[in-house]
Amino acid sequence: MRASNITAVYAADSGQDVPAVDNVTLEVPEGQILGLAGESGCGKTTLGNAVAMIATPPLYVVTGSMQIDDQTIDLATLAKDSNNIHRPYRGATVSLLPQGAMNAISPTLRIRDLVHDVMAAHDKGVTKAEAMDRATDRLKMLSMPSRVLDSYAHQLSGGMKQRMVTVISTLLDPKLLIADEPTSALDVSSQKELIEMLLQMIEMKIMRGVIFITHDLPVLSMVTDRLAIMYAGKIVENGRTEDLVHSARHPYTSALLAAVLDPTKETRTKHVLGIPGSPPNLGNPPSGCRFHPRCAFAMPECSTKEPPFLLEGNHQVACWWAEKNPGVTVPMEVSVV
C-alpha cells in the first residue's frame, strides 16, 4: 500500500490556502503497522483524513494518489465524484478510526444495532442475524466476551468501548486501517489491552496494514514496525521503529525522544530542555528547513535551502545536519542533574 505525493490544503477565509500536508509519501508494507508521530497541529490527522478519503471542505486534497494492490485511486479528483465511489472504498478498502471514536456509540442503541448499521451500509441485504454471527465470530477470534454486543455504551468501560469500535471498524476486513489517537483517552492498562488486540488482528490478517497516528512515542514503540515523524506538514524522518528509537537522524526526532518520560532511572536524573519556540504557522512556513528556527543544530543553509530527502538503506531523513554527518546519531539535548 502506498500513498504518494499527498498535498492537502485548508481553504482559509483570507483566501490564502493553508497546506497542512505538503507532498507526503507514505508506504505501508504488507502486514505491518506504520506509526505517524508529531506535535499537535503538524498535519497527522489531516493526512489520515486525506488517505481515508473523508476530506470535506474546507479541506481539499490538491494532489495525491493511493495505490492498493494493483488499484490506483486519485485522491484529488475523488471529492468531485458521487458518494457511490466512496462507499465501497470506505470501511472495506480503507477504514478510519477517528479520534474519540468511542464516543460515537449511540447511547440509546445496543452495540449489536451499531454492528448491523455498519454492515447494512455496505450490503443492504444483510440481516441482523448475519451481522450478529459475523460479529460474534470476530469477538471469539479475539477472545473477547460476546455479551458485549447486547450492552449499551454506558455499560462498558472506556477501554472496552474503544476495543469495540476497533472491532466494528474492521468487520469488513479493510485492507488498511487508519487509527487516529486510539489510545490517547485511555489509561495505561486499557492502552495495553487495545495494543495487544491490534497486534493480534494484524497477526490474523484481519487487515493487511495499519497506520497508527499518535504523539505518544512509547506506545508507538510497542506497536509499530516503522515510524514516520511529521513536522509542519512534512515527513522529516522515516524508518524502522528500532532504528529511529536507537539512532535518530533528525534533530526533531531526537528532541521528541528526549521528551519521553518513562518510569526509568534515567528519567529520575535527566533534565529535558524541551523544544524551544512553538510550531510554525503553516500558512507562512519558515524558509528552507521548516524546523530550523527551533533546531539546536541549525546551519546557515538550513534557513535558505530545503533539505534533501536522504535515503540511508531503509531509513529516510530530510536534514542538512544528517547529510554532513552521515551515520551519526543526533545527540539528545538532555542534561543530567
Binding site: 503497522i33 506535535e39 499537535s40 472506556g158 489509561d187 495505561v188 492498562s189 492502552q191 495495553k192 495494543i195 497486534l199 504523539h215 505518544d216 512515542l217 512509547p218 506506545v219 514503540s221 510497542m222 506497536v223 509499530t224 514496525d225 524502522r240 521503529t241 528500532e242 528509537v245 536507537h246 528532541a255 521528541l256 525522544l257 521528551a259 519521553v260 518520560l261 518513562d262 518510569p263 526509568t264 532511572k265 528519567t267 529520575r268 535527566k270 533534565h271 529535558v272 530542555l273 524541551g274 523544544i275 512553538s278 510550531p279
Partner: protein
C-alpha cells in the same frame, strides 16, 4: 516575593510540620441503593517545597481528594489542616484567604479561559492596582517570567491565539499572582504533547526550587511523576495503597497494584515490538 516565600518556607520547621494535610478524609457519594466511597480514609501530608504526586487509574479518587483539599467539595468525614489550622469547615473571609493561598491548575486549559478576554484582561481582573511597591503590570510581568513567557507574547493575545502549552503556562502564572503557598495541578499536563509537557513540568520544578512552592501533582502517568515528584502516593479505588519517596515507590514497589500499573506503562526502548524481519 522570592525572599518572603523562602522565609515562610523556613518558618515551617522541617519535615514534621506539613503545610497542608488531610487526616482520615472520607468522601462518599450517594447513588441509587446505597453509596460509593470515592475516597476512603486517606491521610496525606504535604511538606513545604516538595512535589508530591498522586498516581492512580481513572476513578481511583485522585481528583475527589484534590477537590476536597481545595475546599470545593465538602468532606463526608475527616479533617483538612492548613499550616496547623483546621480548615475543614471555615467559611467567608477565612475561606477566601485559604483559596488565595492554595491555588489550582486543571486539566483543560481552554475551559478555564474566557474566550472574549485577552490574557492581560483576564490577569488584571479583580486585582488591586498596586500591591506594596509593585504595580499590577510589574506583578504580571514577574509571574509570566516565572513560567517562561514574555508579557509581549501573551498579554495582548486571546486564548485561541496561544498554543496548549502556553495556555497552561498562563494558568500557572495566574495562580502565582496570588502568591500561593500550595499549587495543586490536577492532570495539568495530560492534554499537552510530550515536548510541551516537559516544559510545563520544568516550570513546576523551577517554582519549587526558586519559590519553595509546595506542589500537589495529580496524574495517571507514572513517567511524569518519576520526572518531577519528590514523593509519590498511589491510589486505587479510593484507598492509598502505597506511599513513599519517588525512588522507592517506582523502582522498588511493594504493592501488587503499583507493580501492575508499572508493568503496563509502555517503555520506549524496553517495549520495542518484537519483529520477525
Amino acid at each position: 516575593m522570592t525572599a518572603t516565600t523562602a522565609q515562610n518556607a523556613a518558618a515551617v520547621p522541617g519535615e514534621d510540620a506539613p503545610v497542608l494535610s488531610a487526616i482520615n478524609v472520607v468522601k462518599q457519594f450517594k447513588v441509587a441503593g446505597g453509596h460509593i466511597t470515592a475516597v476512603d480514609d486517606v491521610s496525606v501530608d504535604f511538606h513545604a517545597g516538595k512535589v508530591l504526586a498522586v498516581v492512580g487509574e481513572s476513578g481511583s479518587g485522585k481528583s475527589t481528594l484534590a477537590r476536597m483539599l481545595l475546599r470545593l467539595m465538602p468532606v463526608t468525614s475527616g479533617t483538612i489542616k492548613y499550616l496547623g489550622k483546621d480548615v475543614t469547615h471555615i467559611r467567608g473571609a477565612e475561606l477566601r484567604a485559604y483559596w488565595r493561598d492554595v491555588q489550582a491548575v486543571f486539566q483543560d486549559p481552554f475551559a478555564s479561559f474566557n474566550q472574549f478576554y485577552t490574557v492581560g484582561a483576564m490577569l488584571r481582573r479583580r486585582m488591586p492596582a498596586k500591591q506594596g511597591d509593585e504595580t499590577l503590570d510589574e506583578l504580571i510581568e514577574r509571574c509570566l517570567s516565572y513560567v517562561g513567557l514574555k508579557p509581549d507574547d501573551a498579554v495582548n493575545k486571546h486564548p485561541h491565539q496561544l498554543s496548549g502549552g502556553q495556555r497552561q503556562r498562563v494558568m500557572i502564572a495566574r495562580a502565582l499572582m496570588m502568591n500561593p503557598k500550595v499549587l495543586l495541578a490536577d492532570e495539568a499536563t495530560s492534554m499537552l504533547d510530550a515536548s510541551l509537557r516537559v516544559s510545563a513540568l520544568n516550570v513546576l520544578q523551577d517554582l519549587r526550587d526558586r519559590l519553595g512552592l509546595t506542589v500537589l501533582f495529580i496524574t495517571h502517568d507514572i513517567g511524569q511523576a518519576c520526572y518531577l515528584a519528590d514523593e509519590v502516593i498511589v491510589m486505587e479505588n479510593g484507598l492509598v495503597v502505597e506511599r513513599g519517596i519517588t525512588d522507592d515507590v517506582i523502582f522498588n514497589p511493594q504493592n501488587e497494584y503499583t507493580k501492575r500499573l508499572l508493568a503496563d506503562v509502555p517503555d520506549l526502548k524496553g517495549s520495542l515490538k518484537k519483529r520477525n524481519d
